[in-house]
Amino acid sequence: MKRLLNQQPSSFTRVILGLLPFIILIGVYVIASDIRLEANPNDKLLPSIAQMSEAIQRMAFEPNRRTGEYIFWVDTFSSLQRLMLGVLLAASLGLCIGLLTGALPLVGASFSPIITVISLIPPLALLPILFIVFGLGELAKVALITIGILPFIAREMQRRTQEIPHEQIIKAQTLGANTSQVLIRVLLPQLTPRLLDAVRLSLGTGWLFLIAAEAIASTEGLGYRIFLVRRYMSMDVILPYVIWITFLAFLLDWVLMKLKDRLFPWQRQGGHS
């Protein structure tokens, strides 16, 4: 018998071991919900899987009686739109700020301290200000997501820029390159895969701010919905929504990872040379 330290699962056992916790979790939930519903058929805390699929059926595949909308898809669409807009804005701004502060010492000297200070402000504390300035519309929510993740992306990009071996920058200059050529041809292309990494890392935070903003002031959205139905203790809606949000988060992460491999074949093996 090998030491526990050296025991490797085969690929089949690896799959089984990975699925096991999910199966146990679902099993425990089903049993617990059965027990509670047995005692009280009107219990709301642990709805059965049938009740949950019924709720989703109602929200996703039947038009709402009052508005004629498919609430589930309207929520999904508007949440994703806000998240994407906010992340896109933060990514492009963060890339520019990070590239310029990382590559140009003069810009870095004047902007690095203020970025550090801004990144220390808890973004949720700014939410009331955003609502006052931008109103309760879409702009405030998108702005919260952008402000929430921009400092992280900007600092990450700055660090990544400084990580690129200085030899490359000197080499480009000995070939006659000017500042903008070095920025655009040498640094920027090497930063883009790292930007995708930074975006993947900040998506979790992005969701947090999205749901927070929607919970406070909104008329539709995934976060709005779960906070709305909380009043009626509709766990049969909340639980599927949480699972759906998790799935969307997973999907976005996966797409970004695949995109990175596809778009940047040169950086797969370590990168630097």
Partner: protein, 256 residues
């Protein structure tokens, strides 16, 4: 071509180079050897323009050498001197593009065609034409240095600086690289400065050998004195005995 007059370089209290007086003619191939930390790389950085002299002057054609890298001086580092996000061919074409003014240095139309043809000729010269579509991380260390040299030469520098270019390579591959560098030096009529750890490399390559070492040594204050050029030998007419004495000298001081 290059005149060095009473050149000093120090970082704070630490004197690295002291009182260097030397002049170099166009077309010389100079190898710089010495123990690690003796200032030979610092001297190369002064030539490159990434460091400036503390005292004295470094003149190129009678004018002070520029304080930042430019296309007069090409460089090949031991590593990291090619662009990992470009293929071999793109790396060499980019060298042509950077020589143009403009925001991006991207080449279009006829110019791109010409640059591509020139790049292919250059890759042929260094023996990389069959790998032109690969990315640098697919190349071996020797091939990567061939690419770095090809790229540097595309910039048509007058002076080529080599900073321990073959230090990380196997001895067999190193021999091939020596042949390549000698060949290019002759055909492109370059002035070459090469820093190396390997004294034998210095002795059999090039026309002139500089040994960097401390002229004075104070064991109580090891930083008080900098290094100078202790030997300045024309290569090819020297006595093998010289090699032994220098080798011994270097060993003696290699502990500091």
């Amino acid at each position: 071509m290059i005149d060095v007059k009473n050149l000093w370089k120090n970082y704070g209290n630490k004197v690295v180079l002291e009182g260097i007086n030397v002049s170099v003619k166009e077309g010389e191939f100079i190898t710089l050897v010495g123990a690690s930390g003796c200032g030979k790389s610092t001297f190369l950085k002064l030539l490159l323009g990434t460091e400036t002299a503390s005292k004295g002057s470094l003149l190129l054609d009678g004018k002070p050498i520029k304080g930042e890298p430019d296309s007069d001086r090409g460089i090949v580092f031991q590593q990291y001197s090619v662009f990992p996000h470009m293929t071999v061919l793109e790396n060499v074409i980019a060298a042509k593009g950077f020589a143009e003014k403009g925001i991006t240095g991207l080449l279009w139309g006829r110019k791109r065609k010409e640059a591509k043809a020139a790049a292919e000729r250059m890759l042929d010269k260094v023996g990389l034409s069959s790998s032109s579509h690969l990315y640098p991380h697919h190349l071996s260390g020797g091939m990567r240095q061939r690419l770095a040299i090809a790229q540097a030469l595309m910039g048509k520098p007058r002076i080529l600086l080599l900073d321990e270019p073959f230090g990380a390579l196997d001895p067999g591959i190193r021999k091939d690289m020596h042949a390549l560098v000698l060949d290019l030096w002759r055909s492109e009529k370059l002035t070459v400065f090469m820093v190396t750890h390997d004294l034998h490399e210095g002795f059999y390559l090039g026309t002139r050998l500089w040994v960097f070492d401390k002229l004075r040594h104070d064991p109580q204050a090891p930083d008080a004195f900098g290094a100078g050029i202790t030997f300045d030998l024309p290569v090819g007419q020297t006595d093998p005995k010289h090699l032994e004495t220098i080798e011994e000298n270097m060993k003696e001081f290699s502990h500091d």
